[in-house]
């Protein structure tokens, strides 16, 4: 009986795995799938449809859609299983899932397609190398609709009022945090509900202490997160959390709550990516004023192998294109996106992308200019803590970020849980 059922299931699963070669849209629409939490990609593509992509729009009209970030990966998996991915979509939260898409031949090789039109230099080298590193491919399988650097933003007024110099080392950073704590000021705004803004500290510390290849070694099985030198990073963050540096309620504070803490002057520092600039440049949200916000790279660890020049960088959740839907006007859209997205998104939303600009606007806000200078000045980039992990380890890490941020979880236990989810 069992064998019959198993054989039946094999036939059925085999059926579902292959699926029909349908493509994302049965009509000729150029379909998109963005995120409800970040409307910029969809807004920019819609703006392009009337400025730069009119021809592509005429033959294959854009049809935008968006879903919740927490449901995004599940939706993409189901769509990919049915060969029904949208023409262009925000990549999965977990890079590992995108790797499966590449392996399953679901995605357009962006580099190869752009090369056909002589447009390969439209993607900046730093963006291409970040995408390559992220997905483990020489070619880029994603469009760098964002190019972010990460680091610590600080409130200049709080720093000067309390006589704090910009920390250059981890010890100086923890001393600054302690000083702020003693004056009753929360040192860091922390989003422990999503977890990753806390686990970013662990990753950044590892890169500074053990060098830029430290997490690649873990992914390759050459090292384990439970090794003492890795555990040290999580212990440092847990210790910082236990001292209350991220605030008592960090585990249940979300992204907007943490942003609000920093922008209302309740916290002295905030580890975040440069995508936060749109919030910083919005006067209705920013109560401390854009001029009072400074940026510092994640500090060095004394005696560490890494350097502060190795900037944590990412391409946000880049856009990807479905191979199945590409025949339906995808090529024309890709060409005009590569040529116009960078200018459009910077002009419209103040977002720095990984596309070459045709002209740099002269009226860039000061903070945006700072970030651009930082990107130009960076000699090399590093990824983030979970970048090379599978979805299970990513979930294990991020769901424990809050407990690490309030110090209720020790660094050793944190690393043990993530390593066990990595399954190596």
């Amino acid at each position: 009986m069992g064998a019959v059922i198993a054989a039946g299931a094999l036939a059925l699963t085999g059926c579902s795995a292959s699926g029909a070669d349908g493509g994302g849209s049965s009509s000729g629409d150029f379909t998109t799938l963005g995120l409800t939490s970040n409307s910029t990609p969809n807004d920019t593509l819609k703006a392009l449809s009337t400025a730069g992509c009119q021809a592509a729009q005429k033959s294959n009209a854009i049809k935008t859609d968006a879903d919740e970030q927490t449901q995004h990966d599940q939706k993409l998996q189901l769509l990919a299983g049915q060969n029904a991915l949208p023409s262009v979509f925000v990549s999965p939260n977990t890079p590992d899932l995108a790797k499966q898409f590449i392996k399953g031949d679901k995605l357009v090789d962006i580099s190869a397609e752009l090369k056909k039109d002589g447009l390969e230099d439209q993607i900046l080298p730093v963006a291409k190398s970040t995408i390559s590193k992220l997905y483990g491919q020489a070619d880029a399988y994603a469009l760098p609709n964002e190019l972010n650097i990460e680091g610590i933003w600080y409130n200049k007024k709080i720093f000067s009022d309390n006589g704090i110099a910009v920390p250059g080392t981890w010890d100086e950073l923890t001393a600054a945090a302690q000083k702020l704590q003693s004056k009753g000021i929360q040192a860091f705004a922390g989003d422990g509900k999503d977890g990753w803004p806390i686990t970013r500290f662990v990753g950044a510390y590892i890169f500074r202490d053990l060098g830029p290849d430290a997490l690649q070694d873990v992914a390759d099985g050459k090292a384990k997160l439970t090794d003492a030198k890795y555990v040290k990073a999580a212990e440092e963050v847990s210790k910082l959390g236990k001292s209350g540096a991220f605030g008592q309620g960090v585990a249940s504070t979300d992204y907007s709550g943490a942003t609000n803490q920093f922008l209302s002057g309740q916290a002295g520092m905030f580890y975040m990516g440069s995508w936060i600039l749109s919030n910083f440049n919005d006067a209705s949200q920013n109560k401390i004023g854009a001029d009072d916000i400074g940026f510092m790279p994640f500090p060095a660890v004394d005696g560490g192998k890494g350097s502060v020049d190795q900037t944590p960088a990412n391409v946000g959740q880049p856009l990807m294109m479905s191979k199945a839907a590409y025949a339906k006007g995808g090529a024309a859209w890709l060409k005009c996106i590569a040529q116009g997205y960078g200018d459009q998104v910077l002009k419209k939303s103040g977002v720095i992308s990984g596309f070459k600009l045709s002209a740099t606007p002269s009226d860039l806000p000061a903070l945006t200019k700072t970030v651009q200078d930082q990107i130009t000045g960076s000699t090399s980039s590093v990824l983030w803590f979970e970048a090379l992990f599978n979805s299970k380890a990513t979930t294990a890490s991020q769901s424990n970020g809050g407990s690490l941020g309030n110090g209720s979880l020790s660094g050793a236990d944190f690393m043990q849980q993530v390593q066990s989810a990595l399954g190596q």
């Binding site: 599940q74 499966q100 309620g249 585990a251 294990a396 309030n406």
Partner: protein
């Protein structure tokens, strides 16, 4: 009528469509899911036959045991809470409030009709510490306490979940048990009172045995519901902090749909089904023995 229903062909014609729909939407997916338990992989990477490896993994997976432990702890505490509070409320309706109970019944029943997500948001706000302290922390502050991030710590998050789910469903069990209590003939209670029974002894010797069948139904109903808890956990804590409040259902969902491992996800689902069956059979057998004794 008998001659019509006596015909096999007519019976088949009447039952057929419903049976067909039931088979299509219930039986086939169950068998399909059972088939998945012998495979690994997902929709994108394809499926590979792995025999009983998923079952071996389940028994050695610390996360699965954590989820099972949480599920059992949660189910036992919430079932006791729901049924006990519901029973007390039902006794209150029947013996104290009597005809005036309809308003109280409506008020207590109100949380049952509220969407789970709304109730979860309400409890999140009630127990939050940041950005503004909720009523629970405001009370602690008023008494000079330091405040606690209730949902940020494993133990307190568990108890907030318990309180929320008991509050959310006690009205339902109160009404269910109330229906059982009003069925007890007044004459029996009256004669017991004449024989000197009153208060606790009346409840223990007369009310409790006579309401045992409906109480048993409530327990089975409650334990099966709580073993399969999903929505309230997702909406309140999403299984966190860490995996401290992750029941088997959520672990199954994450495994299948977030980690893309349909085979192991189906194995967890099968284990949950077996658990529900075992618990139900256990309660049935236990109760049958009691009834015989009575």
């Amino acid at each position: 009528m008998n001659s019509v229903l006596g015909s096999r062909r007519t019976a088949l014609l009447l039952v057929g469509p419903a049976l067909l729909v039931y088979t299509a939407i219930t039986l086939i997916p169950i068998l399909w899911s059972f088939g998945y338990t012998f495979f690994s992989g997902g929709l994108i990477s394809g499926f590979t036959f792995v025999g009983v490896k998923n079952f071996q993994t389940f028994f050695t997976d610390p996360n699965a045991w954590n989820a099972l432990g949480f599920t059992l702890r949660y189910a036992i505490i919430v079932t006791i809470g729901q049924v006990a509070v519901g029973y007390l409320l039902a006794l209150l309706y029947v013996f104290f409030l009597r005809r005036a109970s309809s308003f109280v019944r409506t008020v207590v029943f109100f949380p049952v009709v509220l969407p789970t997500v709304a109730v979860s948001l309400l409890f999140q706000r009630m127990f939050q510490l940041a950005p503004q302290p909720g009523p629970a922390n405001a009370l602690i502050h008023a008494f000079g306490g330091a405040g606690t991030d209730f949902l940020g710590h494993a133990d307190s998050a568990f108890w907030v979940l318990i309180v929320m789910d008991i509050w959310r469903s006690m009205g339902f069990y109160a009404v269910l048990l109330f229906a059982g209590l009003v069925d007890i003939p007044d004459e029996i209670i009256e004669s017991a009172r004449l024989d000197g029974a009153g208060g606790w002894s009346l409840v223990r010797r007369i009310i409790l045995p006579l309401s045992a069948p409906v109480l048993l139904s409530s327990i089975i109903f409650s334990i099966n519901g709580t073993l399969k808890v999903f929505d309230s956990v997702v909406a309140l804590t999403n299984g966190g902090p860490g995996n401290a409040t992750t029941p088997l259902t959520l672990y199954m969902f994450q495994t299948a749909f977030t980690y893309g491992d349909y085979g192991y996800g189906s194995t967890i689902a099968l284990m949950l089904t077996i658990l529900c069956l075992l618990v139900t059979v256990f309660i049935f057998r236990g109760s049958r023995r009691d009834v015989t004794k009575a």
